[in-house]
């Protein structure tokens, strides 16, 4: 399954819980403090900056067959920057990918080698 990027961004921003689209259930004032009043949302400026940051990091994923696998499997849960700032060898990325599949990433088993190869090529061991 591959998500469209525009859908993904709308969804992903919502998943961060920082947009007004993710409103909490309406509060009952009564004797209690309505939850949404007790936990102010981020500023509109921060929401915009975060959304732009996420788009930019996704756009920076190198071309290649693995890119669609990252978009369709990894970016469901987190932004591309989380991948891009890490550096691992084949064993390291293999461990990560298998962990993510165990945790429910929808990656097909036959796509594992291609995704791992893409990650190693793009975000492998960093030169000292």
């Amino acid at each position: 399954m591959r998500l469209r990027l525009d859908t993904l961004f709308a969804c992903s921003i919502c998943l961060t819980g920082i947009t007004s689209a993710c409103r909490p259930a309406s509060g009952q004032a009564g004797d209690d403090v309505a939850t949404q009043m007790a936990a102010p949302r981020p500023s509109a400026v921060l929401q915009q900056v975060v959304a732009e940051s996420e788009k930019a990091s996704a756009a920076a994923l190198p071309e290649g067959t693995g890119r669609a696998l990252v978009e369709g499997n990894c970016l469901i849960c987190h932004g591309a920057a989380l991948i891009q700032q890490q550096h691992k060898d084949s064993a390291g990325w293999t461990k990560t990918v298998k962990q993510m599949r165990t945790w429910g990433a929808p990656l097909a088993e036959q796509d594992e080698p291609a995704l791992i190869a893409y990650l190693v090529k793009s975000y492998g061991i960093k030169e000292p």
Binding site: L15, G27, G30, L46, Q85, Q86
Partner: protein, 382 residues
């Protein structure tokens, strides 16, 4: 009537100003001819390391004040804030207790409120400064640390209502946050019961305003003297248990290379003035920063600075009021005799005698990097 966001900002800034003269004076940096104000923070107020879930550092210039304004306080969580909030927030305490209880936020707020000034540091702060060829996780630099004045109650006061039994040796803290995919384990950390009873704080206000959602509001834990992973955000459930949590983020994650758990803060300092690549004039230059440890009782004994890669050290002044679990501001004037590139080091010593290392031992998880901070800057002839 003021908008909540505006009110929060003003109150926070007021608190920051009152908290320490250093908060105001810290804006004056460098020689008389040098920069006199902090650089403007980035748009949005934070340095973003990862957009989702949001992981963002405090800009160093915004750490010059003793209290970190809410909009500049670093942001970290594994899954981001809960996407759906209940209309009425509750905290349940059960398990090894005589009387399981569920308290509403309003009921908790009616307990005798106190304030506690606390420095919180992410366990991975400085991971990016290890500069390892292989590294996992968010590559924080210096700014995953901040200080706020929290309003709430000591956790022990709330636990009294449930009456822990002798079997309650560890308290498992569960928040409302979870990953988008249900199979991902929740982020559940436990802390020892004696720590929970004596050095943990349950907060609903941050710098005088309701805790922002990004910072764990409406209700969060602060475990004093421990790295931030032990300060559970969006707290809804405390499970009293005989054993340590077996959750992934407790049993597997947050471990040093020898397998020991990441727990207490290490002695550490931070340079907030000058900033990297700043251009200053030769002559007397003001340097400043913050220092902290996980000891409690103030913790910091001294902070020294060096301009010759640690061959000689110059003492600094500790400023402002001392709080048991908050960082201590420090400042000094150093003499820059000649123009050219300079490198400033700082090192803190705590009251146990622990000295901040020149370079902390790296570990695969990148935890606890308390290496001395170093700042490179240019001096031009005055």
């Amino acid at each position: 009537m003021e908008a909540p966001q505006e009110r929060m900002s003003r109150r926070t800034l007021l608190a920051a100003g009152i908290a320490g003269l250093g908060g105001m004076l810290a804006c004056r940096v460098g020689s008389p001819e040098g920069p006199t104000s902090a650089p403007a923070p980035p748009e949005g107020g934070l340095v973003i390391r990862n957009a989702r879930p949001l992981d963002a550092e405090a800009p160093l210039a915004q750490l010059r004040s003793f209290l970190t304004p809410n909009e500049h306080f670093f942001v970290r969580s594994h899954f981001g804030p809960p996407t759906t909030l209940p209309s009425q927030w509750t905290l349940t305490i059960d398990g090894a207790v005589k009387q399981p209880v569920t308290l509403t936020l309003a009921e908790i707020r009616k307990l005798n409120a106190a304030t506690q000034t606390i420095t919180t540091e992410c366990a991975g702060n400085g991971r990016g400064n290890f500069r390892l060829p292989k590294t996992a996780g968010v590559q924080w630099q210096y700014g995953a640390v901040s200080t706020a004045r929290w309003t709430g109650v000591p956790l022990g006061v709330v636990l009294e209502q449930a009456q822990l039994t002798p079997d309650a040796r560890h308290l498992w803290m569960e928040g409302l946050d979870q990953a988008p995919i249900a199979k991902v384990p929740k982020f559940i950390r436990s802390i020892p019961a004696d720590l929970a009873l004596n050095a943990a704080f349950l907060a609903w206000e941050m710098n005088g305003s309701p805790i922002p959602l990004l910072h764990g509001g409406p209700l969060r834990l602060l475990t004093l003297g421990w790295f931030g992973m032990a300060s559970t955000k969006w707290l809804t459930h405390i499970h009293a248990r005989p054993a340590v949590s077996d959750n992934f983020f407790m049993a597997t994650a947050y471990r040093f290379a020898d397998g020991s758990p990441v727990e207490r803060l290490r002695v550490k300092s931070l340079i907030t003035a000058p900033l990297a690549d700043e251009r200053l004039r030769t002559g007397k230059v003001r340097v400043a920063g913050q220092a902290w440890s996980g000891l409690g009782s103030g913790g910091i004994k001294s902070v020294e600075v060096s301009l010759d890669d640690g061959q000689t050290w110059q003492p600094t002044r500790l400023t402002g009021q001392e709080y048991p679990y908050a960082w201590r501001s420090w400042e000094s004037e150093i003499q820059i005799a000649t123009p050219g590139p300079k490198r400033l080091l700082a090192r803190a010593t705590d009251r146990s005698g622990s000295v901040q290392p020149r370079r902390a031992d790296p570990n695969p998880g990148g935890f606890g990097n308390n290496s001395m901070p170093e700042v490179g800057f240019d001096a031009t002839q005055a």
